[in-house]
């Protein structure tokens, strides 16, 4: 399997504090990769570095063999890297359908067009409806997205991330704050819609992680202490000490 995303000794400082301390990681094309770690380990920061929200202090990030560190988010997104957010991040006053359609525009090559009328783009609109169907929001299509229930907003969040048909999808705690049954549905949804794509996921719920992931990386205090298959991670001594010990003390 080829490497789709490759981090090489990535570092990030905020002022004097080093948040990410030399992370190197290769993600294989088509795998489902989970990143776990205690609170404050730098998981979200790592996401922000990869997706272009923050600039790296040093190191390189390659996506499909192109260096993408310190590039603006939209350029990275155009290469085929989509992400979701831990805190719901949608277009609240647009309706659900518009949210999804906006997410589809660039990948369907509409760019900054002001000569296409969206109402007439049958194919595009069908695609958007299809995504809505997948995330189960078809009947809410014309609803202002800001007024959806929480779980529905999370589904929409997911929908925006996957709509563009990106090769690499990064999800940041997709089921955080959901009830058990909602989370189960969400996991099914994630599995369904990321079929055949590369997935990176940050998640706290270990059941979900071990259920979904092909490989797992453990991030502790800005360092990757292990990357391996789930069963090896479970057995890994360092992980046990650093990560599960942390959970134990914080509980």
């Amino acid at each position: 399997m080829s490497i789709i995303l490759s981090l090489n000794n990535v570092r990030k400082n905020f002022g004097a504090t080093e948040i990410i301390r030399g992370v190197s990681l290769d993600i294989k094309r088509g795998e489902k990769h989970a990143i776990i770690g205690p609170n404050g380990a730098g998981k979200s920061t790592l996401y922000h570095l990869i997706s272009g929200r923050h600039n790296v202090t040093s190191g390189t990030i390659k996506f499909k063999d192109k260096e993408i560190q310190n590039k603006p988010p939209f350029e990275i997104a155009r290469l085929g890297l989509a992400r979701s957010f831990q805190v719901t991040n949608i277009f609240p006053r647009l309706n659900v359908f518009e949210n999804i359609r906006c997410a589809l525009l660039w990948s369907n090559d509409y760019r900054y067009s002001f000569w296409h009328l969206l109402g007439k783009q049958t194919e595009l609109n069908e695609k958007a409806m299809h995504v809505l169907e997948q995330i189960g929001l078809k009947d809410k299509a014309l609803y202002p997205s800001g007024e959806l229930a929480y779980a529905q907003q999370r589904a929409l969040e997911l929908g925006i991330a996957v709509a563009s048909d990106a090769e690499l999808i990064m999800l940041d705690e997709p089921v955080a704050g959901m009830s058990h049954s909602e989370a189960e549905n969400a996991v099914e949804l994630i599995k369904r819609i990321t079929q055949g794509k590369t997935l990176i996921m940050v998640e706290h719920d270990m059941n979900i992680v071990f259920d979904v992931a092909d490989r797992i990386s453990v991030l502790v205090y800005g360092e990757l202490i292990a990357t391996d298959e789930p069963k090896n991670i479970r057995a890994n001594q360092k992980v046990q000490e650093a990560y599960l010990g942390e959970v134990a003390t914080s509980a």
Binding site: F74, L94, E98, W106, Y112
Partner: protein
């Protein structure tokens, strides 16, 4: 919404534009209609920035004014026979200049929205307005520059000497401009402008540069502001510094806001209302600006979505067919409220009046008599009390008229 229904709105708009001067046919009315056409394009172009793009500008008059100045210069060139084309295309010249100015200024001002954008627009506005006074060769100083629209080739036999001819020309331009501005909202660039307004960060993660999306809206807005400026030049045949300074910028903000930012039709309503007030109110009272200020504050406080929002509020009841349930409650509140405002106006006018006899609504009041004052104050207090009391029944009526779980519609 069916195609027919959509089309019928546009046809209605066109018909309204075309028949208006048949009903309002005095010279003054034509002049007010002309003002409205200019204001409508200008306010709609402003709404592209603020309403649709989330960019608060304090310097939108720059594009209007620059477009207008170049348009007048074009008129002068036509008069001197340096160039030869019909003056019906003058608004296009204004538009091109507005666009060019927007391309230049937008290249650095659209990087951020919010306060930064607002303050840059304020600074640019002041700079351009001040410079226009300093560079008096081009801008004509405080007297401005003037041209004559009757030169150049005739347009199907019209020389546009009369204002009514200019009105029909303006109406055509307004109609076309409105269509294009509406269509813009239906394009990827227009829709992404909404998305960037809502959440610029997320827009970047779905592949769009927020800055570039803003830039495109900004340029489109400059283009249409310039067209409005060009129409102004044709209508008045002159233009001065005041057409690109902060007062004009402020006025367009008021129009768009009072009309309702969230609705495409809002700025049109705002433009019509403000133009009417500006032209008519000033004849009844020297204090009209005071009333305008009060009315404006009340609108901001009680109709945050503007007049368009107020009308749209009744959509549910209208769909439900319960609108007439509201008629009586509205009257019960409306009559004392009207009485209250009339009495307040009377008091304000009386205290400003220096005359012996004071004419008000067909009555002759004596502002020096305590009696008059006591009566007025009693009316104010009583009507205020009545209005307050009636609000509850209005609220109840409103509740019952809108009872059915409202079917949330997308914003237009």
């Amino acid at each position: 919404m069916g195609l027919i229904k959509k089309l019928s709105v546009w046809i209605g708009y066109l018909v309204a534009l075309l028949v208006a001067p048949l009903f309002f046919d005095s010279i003054l009315a034509i002049s007010i209609l002309n003002q409205m056409t200019i204001a409508i394009i200008f306010a709609l172009s402003y709404n592209m920035l603020l309403g649709q793009g989330g960019m608060l500008s304090f310097g939108h008059a720059v594009y209007f004014g620059l477009g207008g100045f170049l348009a007048v210069h074009a008129l002068i060139l036509i008069e001197h026979e340096t160039v030869f084309f019909s003056i019906t295309f003058i608004p296009a010249i204004g538009g091109i200049i507005g666009l060019l100015a927007a391309v230049f200024i937008g290249s650095f001002s659209t990087r951020k929205a919010g306060t930064v954008f607002a303050m840059i627009s304020l600074g640019i506005g002041e700079l351009v307005a001040s410079s226009s006074l300093i560079f008096s060769d081009f801008f004509g100083g405080e007297a401005g520059i003037s041209g004559d629209r009757t030169f150049g080739p005739l347009f199907f036999g019209f020389d546009f000497a009369q204002n009514i001819e200019i009105y029909y020309l303006s109406a055509v331009w307004v109609f076309i401009a409105t269509i294009f501005m509406y269509l813009f909202t239906q394009t990827p660039a227009g829709r992404m402008a909404n998305a960037v307004r809502e959440n610029p960060e997320r827009a970047e993660f779905i592949g769009y540069s927020a800055r570039k999306v803003r830039f495109i809206s900004f340029c489109a807005s400059g283009l249409f502001a310039g067209i409005a400026g060009g129409l102004f030049a044709l209508n008045y045949e002159f233009i001065t510094e005041e057409n690109l300074n902060a007062i004009t910028s402020g006025r367009v903000l008021l129009m768009a806001y009072i009309g309702g930012l969230g609705y495409f039709i809002g700025p049109i309503i705002g433009a019509v209302i403000l133009t009417l007030m500006n032209s008519l109110l000033s004849n009844y009272s020297e204090l009209w600006m005071l009333y305008l200020g009060i009315m404006f504050l009340l609108t901001v406080m009680f109709l945050p979505k503007g007049f368009a929002g107020f009308i749209m509020m009744h959509q549910t009841a209208w769909v439900k067919g319960s609108l007439k349930q509201l008629a009586v409650p509205y009257l019960i509140t409306g009559i004392p409220a009207l009485l209250f405002s009339t009495a307040c106006v009377a008091i304000i006018e009386m205290s400003a009046s220096e005359e012996e006899v004071f004419h008000y609504l067909g009555m002759e009041l004596n502002p020096h008599s305590i009696f008059t004052w006591v009566i007025a104050i009693i009316i104010v207090v009583a009507s205020f009390y009545a209005t307050r009391r009636s609000l509850l029944q209005l609220a109840n009526a409103w509740e019952s008229a809108n009872e059915i779980p409202d079917s949330k519609d997308s914003e237009s």
